[in-house]
Subunit: 105 residues, 2 copies
């Protein structure tokens, strides 16, 4: 269930959000976008969880892949709807993963 | 509820985990660690959510602050207990936040 990412360096987009009260269509669009993102060149995986705050981290090969995904037309439509309807607030952080380590039983 | 971070560059530690079936003491230790982390030099904030996967992102001024927090004795004890008892698997990613942007109603 954790994203299986390659050895660093690679990139992470941390998308943190708080939903508004109007969430009609949000879950469907979320699933669509995860599906669409996973088909993009340079996509390496993602992890997602939501309680009061929702956090989705998507992992990418390089900045160019992130830029192309941000400009994808369907994704832009989802971003517009997100601002208009679904999100009370959000923050996107573009990060270079410099080091990682893990543990698995 | 979103972390109020300064202008980049700063650092993010993405800690993604799946819990094991033995979670006794986990919630209490989590709260203790968030509290302790927030008192460390260089701590800038954090965001956290858990469903099947738990994601905690903590934000830091620089790599040195992250290193000192990792070596904190109480934190090391929590890390050891985490490996022994609470986590089925986890991954820690140390990232440099290069750019961020957001939206608030």
């Amino acid at each position: 269930m954790l994203a299986q990412t390659p050895a660093p360096p690679y990139y992470a987009v941390i998308f943190s959000s708080v939903l508004s009260e109007e969430t009609t269509g949000y879950t469907e669009m979320s699933k669509l976008m995860v599906n669409l993102a996973s088909q993009q060149a340079g996509y390496l995986g993602h992890e997602s969880a939501r309680n009061e705050v929702g956090i989705t981290v998507s992992y990418w090969k390089d900045l160019e892949s992130i830029k192309i995904w941000k400009q994808n037309l369907d994704h832009q439509e989802a971003q517009t709807l997100g601002k208009l309807k679904w999100y009370q607030c959000y923050k996107t952080r573009i990060c270079k993963v410099e080091r990682d380590y893990g543990f698995e039983i």
